[in-house]
Symmetry: C2
Subunit: 347 residues, 2 copies
DNA sequence: TGTTAGCACTCAATGGCAACAAGTGCTAAA
DNA sequence: TTTAGCACTTGTTGCCATTGAGTGCTAACA
């Protein structure tokens, strides 16, 4: 539907716009790219491309910038896999190679490295643990008034929380609760456990303990932690650099949106296989109109699906970035599977 | 040294400048304050105050703004304790009343509340734990490959860390290490423990275990956590509001300075008794020239000294803010002492 | 029919200029 | 010692002309 020449014009405009960050005019296009045509011809073609919706102007006599449709077309049909800088590749592998203590830390490190390599904002979502089972509670007495509660799942996820015992509570009561938890909850899936905590367990605890409320709140906290611990965002401050005209209010809104962590999974959305690119308005959130999001779901056998994503300006160098995200997708899948096998083998 | 009239002019200028954020001229001063003199008289007085260094101009024909010396004089001699808004007082007490799980959380909550009440940036530094003693290590096996290491001090401070065991390690080796730690380190002060970890302990571990390096790194992490967990900063984003002309680079520098957490104790400085106000250049850091810091050290019997501080614009309403910080100083002292007694009583 | 040179036109950006407002310092009189 | 008055300074605002980059369109050309 587009001619060869139109395609190379579109490509060149996109490249030059990411390079210089300014609308591209017909003359610049001739100087900076190898298109064999006069400026007038190019202007004509640009009119066509604009009519078809691939380009737009910032004002009536300005050069052209790619529209969202233009980027969409570019990403869908014109991007070819870009070779990842060997240095970058090495530093990714090396960073994920370190001896880690937790799945969580691998997930976090990947966000750190991705944001650092790109100078954009990286979002890393650990693999789902919802269908994992609670294999054990531990109650570790620290001193006479303090207690650490630890929760372990069969997928190796660990969460802990400290707790100061109310003065009125005696050891017998506590022992009862421990037994209760082990009988009622261990072996169930986290979803079931969560449901129980909201329904029948509080009642059971109340029968055994006078000051039950704190106890229940404690477990709510613990599960909340387990849910939010999975999300890591790095390089939020980079937004101030790569998004030229972002007013402070917008910045603050976005920043706190990311602090909330609740709405983010929504943003990351559908978790299709492969790599998804969402451009500007496609993100369906006014705040992100100037941004694009490259997100990749990665499958970890037996553990579930995680997401690694990169937020940058709409004018980012897509092919390079897509390849980079792809590397993380593969590496995370590999590393986490290895990690899970390590834990599982020894059972 | 200053006449009555000069004092009330200085006061009024300071108040009007915090109120409107703009240089104060002689006419505004007459309209907005109850000084019985003509504009000309006031201008003369302003010349004197400027000669003495209490006021300055932004340009040759502008109104006056207070200089650092001016603020200094104001804070030292003219500020009278301001009644704290009963609502604020109530919400502080209520927030610190909640059943907490850790010293740490009380410290953190205080920063949150202070920053929220003021719309400035709050820094909260938990009481020193350096002279506290290690009362116990716990090694809690989670599954065949994972282990949680917990460290408890006599002051009720708890730190934990997860750890994935190297495949080659067998249970006997681990047991040896546990015994080793309990024999060598428990009962010592944290400083001694830290020193041992850097000197003789690594050697000891190496004698018992083949893969000692990870093990040692683990404990380094644990102590690092214990050291940085004490600092909480809230409301950094507020800087964007209260500091009108802060360029983005400065903002980022300050923000990351606060992330580092290393330099902050230095900033909080000498920890004199009572409440200290440092204004602009007095903070001795170019980045903070536009800011003032109100900091209060609070003593907790047997636990040590903590600091609660408030960072805001040099033109902040000092008397109100100083009183507010004072409330936190008292409450934190009270709450933490109660907390420590709770733990200690049961020994 | 597609391509190109040429030209009139548009619009953002820049700099100079005048008008204005807010404020000062100084002088001279009360 | 205080105050009214006035000349002076400086930042801000709006206006206008100029410039430059770029466009669309027309007419000539291959």
């Amino acid at each position: 539907m587009l001619t060869e020449r139109q395609i190379s014009i579109l490509k060149s405009i996109i490249h030059l716009y990411t390079k210089y960050g300014q609308p591209v005019g017909s003359k610049t296009l001739i100087q900076e790219s190898k298109i064999a045509a006069s400026s007038a011809t190019i202007r004509n073609e640009m009119v066509h491309l604009e009519e078809m919706g691939f380009l737009k102007k910032t004002h009536s006599s300005s050069g052209r910038i790619p529209s969202i449709t233009g980027y969409r077309y570019y990403v869908d049909y014109l991007v070819h896999p870009h070779k990842v800088d060997p240095e970058d590749l090495a530093s990714i592998k090396q960073a994920l190679e370190n001896p880690f203590k937790q799945i969580d830390e691998i997930v976090m490190t990947s966000a750190e490295v991705l944001s650092h390599l790109t100078s954009y904002t990286a979002i890393s979502l650990g693999p789902e643990i919802k269908d994992s089972k609670l294999t054990g509670f531990r109650f570790v007495p620290l001193n006479e008034r303090q207690l650490m509660v630890i929760l372990v799942t069969d997928k190796g996820h660990v969460e802990s929380q400290n707790f100061t015992l109310p003065q009125q509570m005696n050891p017998y009561e506590l022992e009862k609760v421990v037994r209760l938890f082990n009988e009622e909850l261990v072996g169930k899936s986290l979803i079931e456990v969560f449901r129980s905590l909201k329904t029948d367990v509080p009642e059971l605890i109340r029968q055994h303990i006078r000051t039950a409320e704190n106890m229940i709140g404690l477990f709510d906290d613990l599960f909340l932690k387990a849910a939010t611990d999975r999300i890591h965002i790095e390089g939020r401050m980079n937004m101030l650099d790569y998004s030229n005209d972002l007013n402070i209010e917008q910045f603050k809104s976005i920043y706190s949106l990311m602090d909330g962590k609740h709405d983010l999974p929504m943003l990351l959305g559908s978790k299709q296989e492969g790599i998804t690119v969402q451009i500007g308005k496609e993100l369906d959130n006014e705040l992100f109109e100037q941004f694009s999001l490259i997100s990749a779901a990665y499958e970890v056998e037996n553990l579930g699906t995680g997401v690694i994503a990169l937020l940058g300006p709409t004018s980012m160098p897509y092919s390079k970035m897509i390849s980079l995200v792809g590397v993380f997708q593969k590496e995370l899948s590999k590393k986490l599977e290895a990690y899970y096998h390590d834990i599982d083998d020894n059972k």
